[in-house]
Symmetry: C2
Subunit: 617 residues, 2 copies
Amino acid sequence: MDSDYGIPRELSDLQKLRSLYQPLLPPCLEGTTVRVEFGDATTTADLADAHNISRSFPHTYGQPLAHFLRATAKVPDAQVISEHPAIRVGVVFCGRQSPGGHNVVWGLLNALKIHNPNSVLLGFLGGSEGLFSQKTLETTDDILSTYKNQGGYDLLGRTKDQIRTTEQVNAALSACKSLKLDGLVIVGGVTSNTDAAQLAETFAEAKCPTKVVGVPVTLNGDLKNQFVETNVGFDTICKVNSQLISNVCTDALSAEKYYYFIRLMGRKASHVALECTLQSHPNMVILGEEVAASKLTLFDITKQICDAVQARAQQDKYHGVILLPEGLIESIPEVYALLKEIHNLLRQGVSLDNISSQLSPWASALFEFLPPFIKKQLLLHPESDDSAQLSQIETEKLLAYLVETEMNKRLKEGTYKGKKFNAICHFFGYQARGSLPSKFDCDYAYVLGHICYHILAAGLNGYMATLTNLKNPVNKWRCGAAPITAMMTVKRWSQSPGASSIGKPAIHPATVDLRGKAYELLRQNGARFLMDDIYRNPGPIQFDGPGADAKAVTLCVEDQDYMGRMKELQEYLDKIRTIVKPGCSQDVLKAALSVMSSLTDVLTAMSSSSGGHHKSL
Amino acid sequence: MDSDYGIPRELSDLQKLRSLYQPLLPPCLEGTTVRVEFGDATTTADLADAHNISRSFPHTYGQPLAHFLRATAKVPDAQVISEHPAIRVGVVFCGRQSPGGHNVVWGLLNALKIHNPNSVLLGFLGGSEGLFSQKTLETTDDILSTYKNQGGYDLLGRTKDQIRTTEQVNAALSACKSLKLDGLVIVGGVTSNTDAAQLAETFAEAKCPTKVVGVPVTLNGDLKNQFVETNVGFDTICKVNSQLISNVCTDALSAEKYYYFIRLMGRKASHVALECTLQSHPNMVILGEEVAASKLTLFDITKQICDAVQARAQQDKYHGVILLPEGLIESIPEVYALLKEIHNLLRQGVSLDNISSQLSPWASALFEFLPPFIKKQLLLHPESDDSAQLSQIETEKLLAYLVETEMNKRLKEGTYKGKKFNAICHFFGYQARGSLPSKFDCDYAYVLGHICYHILAAGLNGYMATLTNLKNPVNKWRCGAAPITAMMTVKRWSQSPGASSIGKPAIHPATVDLRGKAYELLRQNGARFLMDDIYRNPGPIQFDGPGADAKAVTLCVEDQDYMGRMKELQEYLDKIRTIVKPGCSQDVLKAALSVMSSLTDVLTAMSSSSGGHHKSL
């Protein structure tokens, strides 16, 4: 089986051309000498979780942020790393493949070899299972040559398995020890990076010298927080999906007789659906986050779509395009409750035939109301992260069915007088994630690969490679690293009145921020999207000429660069120290004290209340 | 409703860029003077049909081929068209939208205005229904500006309705008369061009001065014959589908646990599936033409796939990609017979619930064997061309279901010892046909639009615009026109022993030629595609840089240029006339006579046998 990996392959002309593309590096990573500057010790977004997390991660919690700077940058406390002994690093793909993953490997290999040609990069074959069974391929520039800037994870393969059980963690530990790895790079999303943090902690505890580094690579775009602006693969996935959605919009407008219901991948969060909406301007999108926030029922959503169909019919429009994130189904309160009951029964080993009879009365009522195909899908075993098998539940067909039923009813009752409602359903998922990565994802992944090396060279453990200021050109990108534990939160929920339960610290998928600028943009334009058919076609991903450098709308409208601002604040604090030195005037000291005191009051008040916000998500 | 059409729209950056692209013209169409040269009177491919067709089309059958040449070309019998009075032309989109349709309108408008700025182009709104009800939009360069090189038919809209019944034909006649049209251009596929020929005949009969011109625009690629090498839209559809198929291949190879069953649009013929296979190299494709030729049953096909799955499992491969043309279902003999019985019962007004009980015993046995979802789809009313609603029948799910059942059986019986078989199904259709057209389709459609004008300027009626030598650059393309009747055939079938029935003359969809070079290429590589995973990703359509000028594989491997060769033959015949003039030596005359006599014998023999070949398709 191993021999299948890393073999040279026949490439199309465009693939060949892409394989020759060389991403640029930000100036701070050019050359062989890099400065690393450490910021303050990190905390968590929700202070209430800090204690909990620090207890679970005694060795790796509270480490400082790291910024990578040019060797010539004038920063007093920075540490210049100029010695680069040969090191051995392992890299593993975890979870769903995301376009650009190969470039992390390439960037890492390139950085390793630039700094010491004797360094070695081992790729684990077949994902985490290859890690446990120590199946490796030594990656070389030759082997990589037909995988550079290409999609998929087929260079090394992947599994969706987690690195979580004691057995798995121990297998990983043995692998790193026996392969004498100085570093282990884990390429993946929310779950895999949580696992990376756990591994880092375990390794530190066990005094294993292997440092663990995480890389944010997931098409869902839900590994988003103060330190991480976007994920490798999200840009490509949204571009490919938007191309197809726009094609369908054009189709709808040409034929004028169909409503297309399109479900998009993206797991629980609706980032992909939001970005695609802002790219393509379909008539409607129903974000899981909106449904959860407004506690909309299946019937509310059906009514909302039917009313839209009816309003459009009054303008003689009998076509439309409606986007649905795959996580939507779990966001509908009564469906979520039904799924929880089903999953509990499945866990108790109740057979499929008997589940329906053991549901609570109201869950049973909902279940019996649903059409057979969706019943069967709701009965599927949950995924390893306890969520439903979202990619298998055809929410688009369910809603199309409910809307059709309701429209026919209205037609019969005479409350709707238009033409018959026709729906066509699509699920866009698998056809996007193997795509050639966009230029942005090629660059982003490649530079992250380089940063992984510098994290290891600085001897850091339990960090994630970060790049910020991404909406600007590559030469303005800021390179850094943040402790993974600083991205964690703890979930609390009440299972029965009085008894509340606390989850394990983990990186949780970030949901779409309903107070953020991207959502605001959707809200402002929603009515025009719905009625005016202002469809927009970003077209197929271009690699040359105008359009090749386009970036995600959600990336560009959000005012992120948290890491950059954190550095700016530090510079202010340093400046105040320089100004308010012993010997300065009484007035200067007084002014400084007065402002600092009120600032401290304000921030204390804000920090304790902001915790609440985060929990409510 | 009318006001929705032709309105300016917001374009993405790439769309804007595309809207500025100016296709080139072949040298013969540059300038304002064009020569038209007429070839010999045309016949039909099957001589047995000639009588039948000539009787149905007394006014338009047997017209000569037309070639458009540079005004300076030295051809003795050519006619130079230098007078260009202002004319009024109507254009209508018929049938499924196909990328590039807008450029036919643009090319036509451009040619009209170049030759006489007072000429007028009226677009019929909402397809053939707009023609019948005389709803028009005068197209101008301004109106076209945001539709140039863009996908869809949304500039004018379309319907799938045909122009066939006496009522419809009369409505079209009235429209052309009352709008004082000199020409009517019909943009569409096999059915619409057959309708165009009928209209031309009726108009000639009724002494209506409107000349009717057809343009071969259909994503199916099945309007293919001696005169037509490919259709507008086919290139784009195959490129978009190949991009997605390749993404899925990469996905399959990365995850290594799924078999993807992908159904492709294309109606009865498998041209799209064949082209996509040659582009992307998926593991398998099952062409409807192969199934029909070998009379494979549903069980044969299932077994074929299962054996492939098993052979791959022996090499530890549990993933794969299998393409299925939408027409496959009708190519399976027993399913076709079942569909015919169902359609007959539907036509007799038998209600859906009673159909199953009125089927013949063996049809009923097959029907009852099928899973419920496919039963429901087989019961749908047939399309207006009597075929099943191919886009609605989920053949991919049926085959995935049958293969899964069989693999589970083999697993249980111990004849298969691999991992459990997992399938994911896709239908790629609607997400491709609204695409931005490829450069090839933009060019092809634009030049065809120009040719439409020259056909009208030459006063021709019942012709189709043709371009040949397409695999070469635009400046080598040969411009011409062929009578639509010359592309027709007549279908004969026996409904009961002894009684045979003859169909109406029509252009029938060309099926994949199992003796052709494209199929040969597939046959040569099929075994490697199946076992070796030599997936190839042509990537998203590029508009700039290398790859932008890529053409369909099936177009490039086939040695077509029938029109070019026809001209070459004519040149030989002319040359012989020049050499063998009264006064030439007895020997020269004798030699000429001897060779011509044997040539005539050979051709007579070949012509009478070739008729049989065509009928057997």
